[in-house]
Symmetry: C2
Subunit: 349 residues, 2 copies
Amino acid sequence: MEYMKIKDKGKDEGTTDIEDPHPRSGPGGIVNNPKTAIHEGSEWKRKSLVTIALTVLTSSQGILIAWSKRAGKYDYSVTSANFLVETLKCALSLIALFRTWKREGITEDNKLSTTWDEVKVYPIPAALYLVKNLLQYYIFFYVDAPSYQILKNLNIISTGVLYRIILNRKLTEIQWSAYILLSIGCTTAQMNSSSDHVLQTPIQGWFMAIIMALLSGFAGVYTELIIKKRPSRNINVQNFWLYIFGMIFNVGAMLTQDYDEIMNKGFFHGYSAITVCMIINHALSGIAVSMVMKYADNIVKVYSTSVAMLLTAVVSMFLFGFHLTLPFVLGSMVVSVSVYLHSKGKVLR
Amino acid sequence: MEYMKIKDKGKDEGTTDIEDPHPRSGPGGIVNNPKTAIHEGSEWKRKSLVTIALTVLTSSQGILIAWSKRAGKYDYSVTSANFLVETLKCALSLIALFRTWKREGITEDNKLSTTWDEVKVYPIPAALYLVKNLLQYYIFFYVDAPSYQILKNLNIISTGVLYRIILNRKLTEIQWSAYILLSIGCTTAQMNSSSDHVLQTPIQGWFMAIIMALLSGFAGVYTELIIKKRPSRNINVQNFWLYIFGMIFNVGAMLTQDYDEIMNKGFFHGYSAITVCMIINHALSGIAVSMVMKYADNIVKVYSTSVAMLLTAVVSMFLFGFHLTLPFVLGSMVVSVSVYLHSKGKVLR
């Protein structure tokens, strides 16, 4: 639920056209292979598929949350649900792995066992998110809720900048313009009458918001770095280790935040059919994020979740009678132009 | 006061880089001449100069209006002021002409006398504006004032489309994207809490707004067509005839709208030093618009007046203590990116 931003019709162009200026071997480690052209085609297909999956899952996530909130606040322990999400992701990765083993046998790339050297970086993204979530409690001393909603769009910028610096991947000038427009468009689309407060944010608030954006951007970019470090490594093994640490961190959160509640009312108190749907959806979109990191990149992820944010809002208008606002219309237009320019920027490179 | 939109730091790139895909002779009719390179340099200089003049004049226009309104509503007859503006423009064109005659003697290109064939098209822009201004009274049956402010930005789009169709001048895809962003950015920058009403505009309101945008866009593009039709023709002669018809149309407006007031209170009733400043400013910016049409084009005019709108708002914050709003900040950012993309779009053409 970190990113909930935009895109719409131009989706396919925008996301599938993002290319890697540093050609690396495909997931099978095949490069300089006569089959490269065919593999590029199948890579393109896979990239599109995971991107569309992420967009659809993230938008339905937003709708499920809006739906569950209609009845008021959460009746269940959020940390227990988060723990179940991580567990489900782990289980799904294992199921996918079993199928791979059955098909291909156990190889160096798909074996579950790992080395300390490989696995030691996996807790880092989870740890970064933890620090960010802790900061979140303190930022509200300086920033009100509507302003925080606006400031969260700094994540888009920080992700772009860190993507450039840490992964050393280049965007063209047109693509940078498009990317900046993406963040402006998302912010515009989310504006309401209270958003102006953000301009009265004290310097401490800005400072914390920037730190949080950097932490969250760094976590995303670092995940991409880990997953792409060894391109031939099976993604489900990488996910398994990523999610194992996610489970551990969430046990910690459960114990510190909801220990009493879980002990008194039980682990599953307040769960409903919709809670189960949300857990399944969160797990699937989590896996989709990993897939996008493996087969596309953080920029695709940001575009994808941004478009999902807009789709959520549009669907919410029909489902929950939300009103169309002028900022939303204008913001969506800016995002659409941004998606177009992003793909155009590549061609004109 | 028709257009009041954007641009800022990137101004020079944005406006001076607009180029004509149909090379035509320069104002001296010199093309395929060994001196072409030198002339291109001086053309570029002149283009920049008139563009900067238009931007500065239009922004100070906005500030003068805000200033004069601080004391309340207008104390003087607006139609009489408009008539004086046209008269002043005529006089200034004549003065410039006298100087040219003294320097160069009377030639076929700078003689004041004209043919029916040349002059018959000159009243058309003024007539179009007249129809548009009449429609303006009726649109308020369907559209409220804040919505009208938003809908006026349709002018930007209509000017671009008519510029493409009537003048057959091309913009690249990046430049079109930039141009669409310009209109979105201007609209965003002008948003306030009442702007959302625009989405409830009935179909008749939209229809009238589109007609008005087309009329105003057509008047602008047609003026460019007239002025550029004979590039070697002295601009001051062209202006003289344009403004003569402006004077005639304004006499009509005075007689129909303010006849009683002028007869009872006198032509100059309610005039102050600031009124005189405004008349001089309007006259000079009118001439700057003509110059931009001659040496640049309608797209430059729209960018220039758009940036002027933003500059006016920024200066008003300091002078009149207007508050900075988030829509204004975001809109200005979109416009800045638009200006950058416009110049970038040319290079990548």
